[in-house]
């Protein structure tokens, strides 16, 4: 089959590789019909996530048709149409039973690597470094899906792939971000980052009862998209705009009830702290650039909630923890517990309450993917979301 492989920092290539096979009794092999490039794939592309190996197949947002199942998979059969969550969960361990699926104990073959860094290991992820399991990803024509008895959502609908695909990660991720923000009826919510996860966080915040959503970014097409679903936008790159002042101005001086950091470790900042983080990460004294997190903590109201769907990987400098304590805020974060959200969100799509395909800007072939990774990184061509048909020429 053809697959997109990580070959080093800022280097991805399409290679012909062997087809995946069933390796364990709960495996399935899926023929991929649509797959996407995620914002978090850029952290791999840019070399921010350690333990990548040349030749790793990338991709964790995909859907397709079941090709083959292992002997202990009874819920799926060849020909079933499925969308697959990016976190792999066993369904049996303490954490899966508590429905904290992304903390599954039994799906990371390299759990010791993550234990060394984080104390304990989370679940395995598709195509997202060897610390996270080293599983081959889905920017390819086929993929092996472990624990297919637990993860994939079987589709009985005839909705097109583009309306379903984002149930594999970013729609549930945006939704969990809004849920983690502990939104009450008529709250005001601020969202940093109007990329795909930010878009779905904005949409979900409204679904969960927010009266007003403030969306912060610097890219006009993304801000426009946020306005199209009802948000008030703040362009932080405009001269004289201070995000913290804007948040006060837009909330009668009390600050948003919840702040959502949908940016993560590679935040851009036009302030002095942005330069500070660039220098410190360049000389490896800091691993992440947390300027959005700092702003979210600073900006949230007293007793409010900061929700963090944006990915962080390591050690952060100058996080205003005194402000967090002083205001008595709550912080919630983590990889998405996908399995809780896929079915209910599919129902919302089926009922026509939301059409997630509104974020797509580019539809490409696998061969175009290496070039599009650069476009995606540099935010050129008004890119908002790239979807790949791995069988198209």
């Amino acid at each position: 089959m053809r697959a997109l492989c990580w070959m080093g920092t800022s280097k991805v290539e399409v290679h012909t590789v062997p087809d995946p096979a069933i390796l364990n009794p709960h495996d399935a092999v899926i023929k991929i019909t649509r797959t996407a490039i995620c914002g978090s794939d850029l952290h791999l592309f840019d070399g921010f996530i350690p333990t990548m190996e040349e030749g790793d197949i990338l991709g964790h947002e995909f859907m397709g048709i079941v090709e083959e199942v292992g002997k202990d998979v009874s819920n799926l059969q060849r020909g079933d149409r499925v969308v697959v969550p990016f976190t792999i969960a066993c369904g049996k361990c303490e954490f899966c039973q508590k429905k904290i699926w992304s903390a599954c104990d039994n799906t990371n073959p390299n759990a010791h690597l993550m234990e060394a860094a984080y104390g304990y290991s989370g679940s395995g992820l598709f195509g997202y470094s060897h610390m996270m399991g080293g599983y081959a990803g889905g920017q390819a024509q086929y993929v092996r899906v472990p624990f297919a008895n637990v993860g994939p959502l079987k589709l009985e609908t005839d909705l097109p792939d583009e309306k379903i695909l984002f149930l594999s990660d970013i729609f549930p991720t945006g939704y969990m971000a809004a849920e983690n923000a502990q939104i009450q009826e008529n709250d005001t919510v601020a969202v940093w980052g109007c990329g795909p996860v930010g878009q779905f966080a904005i949409a979900s915040a409204f679904m969960l009862g927010a009266a007003r959503v403030i969306a912060i970014d610097r890219l006009s097409e993304r801000l426009e998209m946020a306005r199209s679903i009802g948000a008030i936008t703040v362009d932080y790159s405009e001269e004289d705009v201070s995000v913290l002042t804007a948040l006060k101005d837009l909330t009668g001086g009390i600050g948003p009830d919840s702040c959502i950091d949908a940016v993560g470790l590679e935040a851009h900042s036009n302030q002095l702290q942005g330069i500070y983080d660039r220098i410190k990460t360049a000389v490896m004294l800091e691993t992440d650039r947390p300027s959005v997190l700092r702003q979210a903590i600073q900006g949230v109201r007293k007793g409010g909630t900061v929700s963090i769907p944006g990915v962080y990987g390591g050690l952060l400098d100058k996080v205003p923890f005194g402000a967090a304590f002083g205001k008595g805020i709550t912080m919630k974060m983590g990889q998405t517990n996908m399995h809780n959200y896929m079915k209910p969100l599919l129902e919302r799509v089926e009922k026509g309450q939301i059409d997630p395909s509104y974020i797509i800007s580019h539809r490409i072939t696998l061969d175009q993917a290496p070039e599009m990774y650069k476009v995606w990184r540099d935010k050129e061509q008004s890119v908002t979301k790239i979807v790949i048909d791995p069988w198209a020429n």
């Binding site: 089959m1 096979a21 202990d72 066993c90 049996k92 104990d105 390299n110």
Partner: protein, 221 residues
């Protein structure tokens, strides 16, 4: 005699096991120190399965190669005695082992008796607080020698880490009926550094095959 605290609705009786256990009379007991050529490994996991079923799975030592890394074969030679072959290809070591203590559902202890390895160990099965499954604790000691050398040089894992990984495999197998693996999956061309990383991350060690039967169930929840 008056008790200073009476209101503790879910408190459990304190564990009383000594030996390989982690507490003695309410005090936490750190793992034994490595000295005099002996190294120790102690590790524990929470398994959502019944204590007796887990004991039986461990006690079935001829099936140990299904979940223990680098164990090629185990043959029961007499009651409580067995012959172990470790390694792969023509690089193997062999030893005999005897069971010192065997308490169904609670504890198994063993030691090597001759051959190319000098090791001893104990596994303890205890109910987790609140009926949340079984806490399985393994304490194992090795004398540095051929075994440790083989493990470190040929296999690429420190013996301590191998004990941790084996218990992890045991848990995965007991809870799910399989051991997670990536060996055998497709990838693009691996460069020189990828090969080094694979060794460093322990990815060249063959993941044990796991069982072909379904998971053990019957935990309290």
């Amino acid at each position: 005699m008056s008790e200073p605290l009476r209101e503790k609705p879910n408190a459990q009786p304190l564990p009383t096991l000594a030996e390989g256990g982690v507490t003695v009379e309410g005090r936490y007991l750190p793992p034994p120190e490595d000295k005099d050529g002996k190294i120790w490994a102690r590790t524990s996991v929470l398994i959502k399965a019944d204590r007796l079923a887990l004991y039986e799975m461990w006690r079935d030592i001829e099936r140990a190669p299904l979940w223990q890394e680098q164990i090629a074969e185990v043959i029961v030679t007499a009651h409580g005695r067995s012959h172990w072959v470790m390694g792969s290809g023509d690089k193997t070591i062999e030893w005999d082992s005897e069971i010192l203590a065997d308490e169904p559902g609670r504890r198994i202890a063993w030691r090597s008796v001759g051959g190319e390895s000098d090791n001893a160990g104990e596994v303890i099965f205890e109910d987790a607080p609140g009926g949340r499954g079984t806490i399985v604790t393994v304490l194992q000691e090795f004398r540095m020698g051929k075994l440790a050398n083989l493990w470190e040089t040929l296999v690429g894992r420190k013996p301590k880490q191998a004990v941790i990984e084996n218990l992890r495999h045991f848990k995965a197998l007991a809870e799910t009926g399989e051991i997670p693996r990536t060996q055998g999956q497709p990838h693009g061309p691996r460069g020189v550094t990828a090969g080094m990383k694979e060794s460093m991350y322990g990815e060249k060690i063959a993941t044990p095959p796991g069982l072909t039967r379904t998971a053990i169930t019957g935990g309290k929840r």
